[in-house]
């Protein structure tokens, strides 16, 4: 079933400028719907620091099943960790909300979407971060897109090319 949450504004694929640049100029745009897929994996957790490790660990499980090289898996886990950390640090300054992580695996590619219901991507003069998170994700991932879904969720979508067996679930490594 089509999911209009995945109607995205394509943003700076592969490039970013600042730590979670929730810039006001990045107003939602719906002109370029992307292909939608039902996620193969979805985790919804409270956006707390301790739950970032849970997500990272879950992606370790993903790497156990997919035939992914160690370096690629490390890159995936680091990028996902950074995106989740951004949600924990920036998305809910006045409280707590959900951290939604979705993964879609196809033959050669892993797409990961990290979403929140927070305040959106805005600049923060008082940001506690170093401003390296999104540039790091952009470096590690094949592509990085920032967007807003139909439900006003803030979404970070990253894709990775799977090496080795290419994530073919019919031929798990073990």
């Amino acid at each position: 079933m089509p999911d209009d949450r995945d109607v995205w504004k394509r943003e700076a694929t592969g490039t970013t400028a600042a730590e979670r640049p929730r810039a006001a100029s990045e107003s939602p745009s719906r002109e370029e719907p992307l292909t939608t897929d039902t996620p193969d994996l979805e985790l919804v957790l409270p956006a707390r620091a301790e739950n970032v490790a849970v997500v990272r660990h879950a992606f370790g499980g993903l790497g156990d099943v997919l035939d992914v090289g160690d370096q690629t898996l490390s890159d995936i886990k680091l990028a996902v960790t950074e995106a989740c950390t951004n949600v924990v640090v920036h998305a809910y300054p006045d409280g707590e909300g959900p951290l939604d992580v979705r993964a879609i695996v196809d033959e050669r590619r892993l797409t990961v979407v990290v979403a929140d219901n927070g305040r959106g991507i805005l600049p923060r003069a008082d940001s506690p971060g170093l401003g390296l998170g999104l540039p790091l994700i952009a470096t590690l991932a094949e592509s990085l897109e920032l967007g807003t879904g139909a439900g006003d969720e803030t979404e970070v979508r990253m894709t990775f090319t799977l090496d080795g067996g290419g994530g073919d679930l019919r031929f798990p490594r073990r």
Partner: protein, 132 residues
């Protein structure tokens, strides 16, 4: 955000569509949440037995091929709610978990089993207490 979010709880929702991913991901998530809830090591093994049984049998009884598990912990226990099962799927899931010579994994390991039947879907709640 599709699954409901309960702000007051530490509940985690895991939804896995592709069969081989279920055991690997669910086991890790449950193991980590249980460990954080001070689950003793023997009960951690029990929790993973439950997740393995869910991963093995739940995909055959889901409404849309997606295994949907809500995981929540308290100071004294762990609860898994396996949801979005077909009508009659709760009983079928419990029945499938019976092993010859061993008995039913859910009944032997979980402290409480609560099949829930609705008009559109079934669910099974499995509770594990950590207390001595």
């Amino acid at each position: 955000m599709s699954p409901s979010f309960n702000r007051a709880s530490n509940a985690t929702t895991v939804r896995v569509r592709k069969g081989p991913l279920v055991a690997a991901v669910l086991g890790r998530v449950v193991g980590m949440l249980a460990a954080r809830a001070q689950c003793p090591i023997d009960r951690l093994d029990d929790a993973l037995l439950l997740t393995d049984a869910v991963a093995a049998h739940a995909p055959a009884h889901t409404l849309d091929g997606t295994v949907h598990v809500d995981v929540s912990t308290t100071d004294g226990g762990l609860e898994l709610r396996v949801a979005a099962l077909t009508p009659g799927g709760a009983e079928a899931l419990l029945r499938d978990a019976a092993l010859p010579g061993v008995g039913n994994v859910f009944e032997r390991v979980a402290d409480e089993i609560e099949p829930q039947s609705g008009s559109d879907e079934d669910a099974v709640v499995l509770r594990l207490r950590f207390g001595t």
